[in-house]
């Protein structure tokens, strides 16, 4: 964030900060709803992640491109319109190209529009920066999100179905509980604790990741 106003912005750093330091789910604990809803399989998790990357990048770029024309007092409705426009694009394309997955996660794709993580990026980054840094910021936040979804769904599908991406890999009887809503909450909670533990053990943090949560 310090680099915001300087001439030279390290794109790599902007991207990385979204993936690890400001990871939406495990560190900031925002936009949690789909983290549990669509992570019963790696495939749906990753598809959702792709949709989020798309919306995040496109809305960041659009906001950044027209930022000089937006009057500060009406910026919120404008951001909302831009984001919901891109969500509609993602929603319709998903319905056209990924029919099977869409049946399962259609509602959650539409609800990307209410993601705090996308809205905050438009508000605190894209509306103040040029197009290229905003693009990378969108990629970073989106990929960070996708990474968390993929991690949660990896464990849930592996333990719950004994499969990955729909291919069976473990012969043993799976733990059905991981596919139930309960499993989603448990997996997310334990992974979050794990990230906190890493933070405390190796980086001397206080493990407050997500403690403020909203």
């Amino acid at each position: 964030m310090e680099a915001t106003n300087s001439q030279k912005i390290d794109y790599w750093k902007v991207t990385l900060s979204g993936i690890f330091k400001e990871n939406a789910i495990f560190r900031l604990a925002i936009s949690l709803c789909p983290a549990i809803a669509v992570t019963t399989g790696l495939k749906t998790g990753v598809l959702m992640g792709i949709a989020v990357v798309f919306v995040n990048v496109m809305s960041n770029v659009t906001v950044s491109a027209i930022r000089v024309f937006i009057h500060p007092r009406i910026r919120m409705p404008i951001f909302m319109l831009i984001i919901s426009g891109w969500v509609t694009v993602a929603d319709l394309s998903m319905a056209a190209f990924a029919r099977e997955a869409y049946k399962q996660m259609g509602l959650y794709i539409q609800l990307i529009v209410a993601f705090a993580s996308i809205f905050t990026r438009a508000e605190i980054f894209a509306s103040k920066n040029k197009i290229v840094p905003s693009f990378f910021d969108g990629i970073g936040m989106g990929v960070g999100f996708m990474f968390s979804l993929a991690t949660i769904s990896f464990f849930r599908e592996m333990l719950g179905k004994g499969a990955l991406w729909g291919f069976s890999i473990i012969g043993a009887k799976p733990l059905l509980i991981m596919l139930l809503p309960t499993g989603g909450f448990l997996a997310t909670g334990i992974l979050m604790a794990f990230f906190n533990w890493i933070d405390i053990r190796f980086y001397g943090g206080k493990g407050a990741g997500g403690a403020s949560g909203h």
């Binding site: 539409q110 909450f185 909670g189 604790a193 493990g207 949560g213």
Partner: protein, 197 residues
């Protein structure tokens, strides 16, 4: 008539218990984990939410069926529903502040959090997707609102106790809240299968 009432009752039970927004559909989690630290806040919050959900279900039903369907604009439902809800919440915020400040300080403060919340937006979207009638739509709003209220109050009561519990350090804060929610969700799985149609 009787059949319709049965259908309404089914929708009510299904949306409040079986498909509870928090424990089965995972909506409104941000609010759920954010405000459930005190029972008092949770109660105020859930009253506001239930009211807004019912009214926005009704408003968006009227707009969807009398404006969007005849004009063939249903593909714009996300944009339009967001606009309708935001406009409604904003105006009720202003009206409440002028007309009854006392009520505003009790319940209105939560309105600001609501306008772009996924749980509010989900009700019109589900209504539109399922082609519900007007009454069914409102019932869905009421049921989901009360289900959300139930979830908030249960969680807030547990978290008040958790504050004084000795939780392992990495689990403090949100992680333990997630694990607790998981266990409540397990209990709610028991409601599945109440309705056999």
């Amino acid at each position: 008539m009787e059949k319709e009432l049965t259908k309404l009752f089914e929708i009510f039970i299904a949306s409040s218990l079986i498909n509870n927004f928090v424990f089965t559909r995972f909506l409104g989690l941000c609010i759920f984990f954010g405000v459930t630290k005190k029972v008092e806040t949770a109660v105020g919050m859930s009253i506001t939410f239930t009211a807004v959900m019912m009214i926005s279900a009704a408003l968006s039903w009227v707009i969807f069926n009398f404006v969007m369907v005849p004009l063939d604009l249903t593909f714009l439902k996300i944009v339009i529903f967001i606009g309708v809800i935001a406009a409604f919440v904003q105006s009720s915020d202003t009206i409440m502040r002028k007309v009854s400040p006392g009520l505003y300080y009790k319940l209105g403060v939560y309105l600001a959090l609501i306008s772009t919340n996924c749980i509010i937006l989900a009700v019109p979207l589900i209504n539109a997707g399922e082609h519900y009638s007007f009454l069914e739509g409102i019932t869905l709003g009421l049921g989901s609102g009360l289900g959300f209220a139930l979830a908030l109050v249960i969680m807030a009561s547990i978290r008040e106790k958790l504050e004084i519990a000795d939780v392992p350090v990495p689990f403090r804060g949100l992680p333990i809240a997630f694990v607790t929610t998981g266990l409540i969700a397990l209990a709610f799985t028991g409601f599945a299968g109440i309705i056999t149609s």
